[in-house]
Symmetry: C2
């Protein structure tokens, strides 16, 4: 009876989520420019209904009284309890205070980032960090976790600094040595074989066809999703109707194509979630790190490999014409898509330097939450780490330094590690998969992803939120998170 | 305080309406085919929330206790009360029974209409009519109206058979004589000047540009709306983001163009509603008859006139090319778009014969609701009227006779008169406008619709639901509904 009540509540919440997801995707793709204000008002109201219905006090009683009959029901109930606790552990008064402060802070950041005015932005960020410290303590008390762990718990349940810190430290040590090595290897390759220029323009309609062909090839189900255009590419919508977007530049098709493949990785996960549990927390994607591992599996493990391009290059010529890449062979494409470069901006970074951007933030935000670092000290700390890790200074450039990301202005602390966690999990999954399917690379060369997707569907997608992030990794790959696989992947692709 | 409660309730209801409207438009335009089941489930849940929130018992107390301070607030409260009464006058048990029955009946109709199997469909429609009779009695008791008037009240508040019956009788008498006359005039014109053939193919992308140009010209605001493609054209969305659709045939651009202009008429009304009241019933469009008058004003009064084509023909050539209509002049276009023909199907009818299709249904459904006609007698009654009004028999063709419309299978009785009411109101508005702006036709020839739209915005659009349908007609045109204007319009366009 109580289980049935939770089931019915789940259907109402799923309806509101459905509306919010589709309205969100629609806003970025098809909404008229003047429709934004009412859209925001409508979505705020729907989000309010969602919050009220999902945190109602009687739910606690239903959860306590519910009697699961199967293992799945038991897991579903446990995950419902976990989510309910996470959603209700902050007092309403605090949530309102934080929402108001982060909204103001984000608006101010958008304005001041453009002109790189750190000093004027400082007080707002100090306010946010103060609230985040308070939030971390509140969550920590309710969840019986350390403060920063309690923040991470929102994004990747089960992640703990005690496990992650050694992994990230190991990876950092490796990368500080490996980035110079990879750059040297790249330099030698360029001397042997100079980089080629793209031969645009590439008409958008043709790029779109190429993107659709790539999506189809790696397993996107077009009866349950579509591709549109938006300013910032994303993968949204609902599992039965995944809304993917990309953007096009006529002088370069690779950026859109690789972006499409990244988002297709997210989409496959959503399309593969267990449908019978779609209205329960159990039926949702596990978390940010696992989600990123699915997009990076497609984008990095698959789509930047020589085997993939063996299959993809003819498709490019089919859709963009024989002269799309005149004289290029697979090695030229790989040199282009796997180009390594030290840079200021995280979102523009390649897979070799990217983790260092993340580790820098992960280290700083732990110190910020613990009170070991104050906001006013960020620019110097940022510059010191950028200089140490990547050999570039940001001291006079806050815009491309600590002001570059929306996460901190929006109060989202504990999220950054998920990105690099995703890259490591993707490499570990590839290794496990290759052990299970020794002919893996041959299949990729033929454009046959059925075996790969069957494995991922079984090991990851269909598992929904049955297990914590660390447990899911162990169950899928046979061992806990191990940075060795990601390091081996980088060595293989970028090393000597 | 109570007024404030109603205001807040209105904002929540507007959010749910917003979601339902955009999800509905999205379903017909951008949804993946496999997304339908979850979409239906989500929309049913959201509609359930809307119903529960809009019919909550405490609202009755808020309405009674609310103290309006302005005339607008007074009108807003009155309209809220009227809508609340209409929404709550049926017992939940009855609503559930009717919903289930009409859903089954509609599904069965879709199946059996395709094969024209009236006999198998009969029992389902008998069940629906029985429920509609019960509904009419329940509504009549609650609203202190005659049963059929109580049904019409849902679609055009204030419409009464006592006023409409003489108007429709007058129009019927006129049309029974006028249709043969119009056909004769048309025949003579064709002898003088034979009909020309269209010179397709007309590429869809060019047709789209032409449609957008036509929308822009007659005043559609693209910052608050857009045009997409769907199987059945519609005008949906919300006033700040109107979602219009059309469909294209490459062998004919006129059907899409005239459809676009029809939907633009609906869209202008929505875009012109009073924004400050958008979350109150007062701020919504008045009803079906008035809405149809706005679409027919653009489609029939404007867009099938010689003055409009003086301006439109060059636009056609601009977007479709010089040879789009080789050798055609305005008279040829008018002969094409104003072609009169006796036919079986209401939705395919021209503006001369259309009202007879409606009057037939209006007469039959009054008798059905009153119990003077039984469902089993419909085919003969339908045939008799079709033969009398249009000289064609449907006795052996139920598919194109009484099975052609979704209204009765869906339990929507009292709706049909709105279509012809709309045509009459549109003609009456044009006449009133021409009295106020004697140079009206000159402006149309120049493609200048600003004066026309300013008048309509003031007289109709900005009025929202302040007045009943009859009161709105009188306030806007200076007199009650008068069929003389529509008859004069037909005589002018189709007579000798």
């Amino acid at each position: 009876m109580s289980f049935e009540k939770l089931d019915q509540l789940g259907r109402r919440l799923e309806a509101l989520e459905h509306a919010l997801s589709i309205l969100g995707a629609d806003e970025a793709t098809h909404m008229a420019v003047g429709g934004g204000e009412k859209r925001a008002e409508a979505m705020a109201n729907l989000a309010g209904m969602y919050h009220a219905q999902s945190t109602a006090p009687e739910i606690a009683e239903w959860i306590e009284a519910a009697q699961p009959h199967t293992e799945d029901q038991q897991l579903a109930l446990a995950e419902f309890r976990r989510q309910y606790l996470n959603a209700t552990c902050l007092p309403t008064e605090f949530v309102e205070r934080k929402t108001a402060a982060t909204m103001r802070s984000e608006q101010l950041w958008r304005e001041l980032r453009a002109v790189g005015d750190w000093d004027s932005y400082l007080p707002a960020l100090e306010g946010v960090v103060e609230l985040v410290r308070e939030e971390a303590r509140l969550r920590a008390d309710a969840l019986k976790l350390a403060p920063y762990d309690a923040l991470m718990e929102q994004y990747d349940p089960g992640n703990r600094t005690a496990t992650l810190n050694p992994v990230f430290a190991d990876l950092k040590t490796f990368l500080k040595e490996f980035v110079p090595e990879a750059l040297e290897v790249q330099e030698r390759r360029h001397q042997r074989r100079p980089r080629r220029d793209l031969n645009g323009p590439y008409p958008i309609e043709h790029q779109r066809e190429l993107g659709l062909a790539a999506m189809r090839a790696v397993g996107f189900d077009f009866t349950h999703g579509s591709l549109a255009v938006s300013h910032h590419p994303f993968c949204g919508g609902v599992p039965t109707d995944v809304r993917m977007t990309t953007r096009y530049r006529t002088d370069d098709f690779l950026s859109s194509l690789m972006g499409v493949l990244h988002e297709t990785g997210h989409a496959l996960y959503e399309q593969g979630l267990p449908k019978e549990w779609s209205h329960w927390p159990l039926g949702k994607a596990r978390g940010m790190g696992i989600h990123e591992s699915q997009s990076l599996f497609v984008e990095m493990q698959l789509a930047r490999s020589p085997e993939f391009w063996h299959f993809m290059l003819p498709l490019v010529q089919l859709h963009l014409g024989r002269n799309a890449l005149p004289g290029w062979d697979i090695e030229d494409v790989l040199s282009e898509v796997n180009h390594v470069e030290r840079g200021y901006i995280r979102v523009d970074a390649d897979e070799v330097t990217y983790p260092l951007h993340v580790i820098l933030r992960y280290e700083l935000e732990q110190d910020l939450v613990a009170g070991k670092l104050e906001v006013s000290q960020i620019p110097e700390a940022w510059d010191a780490k950028m200089t140490e890790y990547l050999g570039i200074s940001t001291i006079n450039d806050p815009k491309d330094g600590p002001m570059q990301d929306v996460h901190w202005p929006g109060g989202a602390f504990g999220y950054f590690p998920s990105y690099t966690l995703g890259a490591m999990i993707a490499a570990q999954q590839w290794a496990a998969l290759e052990k299970a399917q020794p002919n893996l690379r041959d299949s990729v060369r033929k454009g046959d992803f059925t075996g790969i997707n069957a494995w991922r569907a079984e090991q990851i997608w269909s598992q929904g939120s049955r297990w914590s992030t660390p447990d899911l990794i162990t169950r899928a790959t046979g061992e806990p998170l191990n940075p060795a696989y990601f390091k081996a992947h980088l060595r293989r692709r970028y090393g000597d």
